[in-house]
Symmetry: C2
Subunit: 128 residues, 2 copies
């Protein structure tokens, strides 16, 4: 199949698929006319990548995950370790965002939000 159908089936933009080829994540064959030709296994790989990306794994993590996936003899511990490191990073990001959100919430609450110029939000930004 051509890139369009592969894109539809993998749930990825064609542009992204071309990029993935560029950086060596997939390697579709070419037809006589220069079009990329995708088989089931390529589409499967692309869907794998789409799923991994949707879980927030970086492209480098995805590369690792793919190679582990294709290594029949890998230890599941390696995959689990990767996932755990990633989960930790997500936890950290959530924590940072929650802190921001809490501060923002307080400031928003403290601000009247009317036509007057007095504003605790700006006051805080200006250093209290």
């Amino acid at each position: 199949m051509n890139i369009g159908e592969a894109a539809r089936r993998a749930g990825l933009p064609a542009k992204t698929i071309r990029y993935y080829e560029d950086i060596g994540l997939v390697a579709p064959h070419r037809d006589g006319n220069g079009y990329r030709r995708f088989g089931e296994s390529e589409v499967h790989k692309l869907a794998f990548l789409a799923r991994a990306r949707s879980l927030g794994f970086s492209i480098d993590d995805c590369r690792m995950l793919l190679s582990l996936y294709e290594d029949r003899g890998r230890a599941s511990a390696e995959v689990r370790g990767l996932a755990q490191r990633h989960a930790k990073e997500i936890d950290a990001r959530i924590a940072r965002l929650k802190e921001m959100r809490a501060t923002l919430g307080e400031l928003i609450e403290a601000c009247a939000g009317d036509e007057r110029p007095d504003c605790p939000i700006l006051k805080d930004l200006a250093g209290g």
Copy 2:
């Protein structure tokens, strides 16, 4: 003062300050030797920016916030609106991350993480 001290006092890398000048957020004067010279008000502005950035506001938001800050007659409603939109986006980001985290947590739990190759994480990525 020079950029180094301004950086220390504002809590921003000198490089970032130069970038902020580039994009028109600050406009320090120049000494005879070409060095940027920062006064108290520039440093204050920089600290304002640092604080706003640390709350996750985009540079564009910061630009808006600065101009509101400097507009003695602004309505606090405008600031509050901006902050609320931003808070909503943070909420959305937290929600997305939490979803990822939950899925990751389940997969990690299901994975033995030993020397055997069988791995529910890879199974999930491969489409169940």
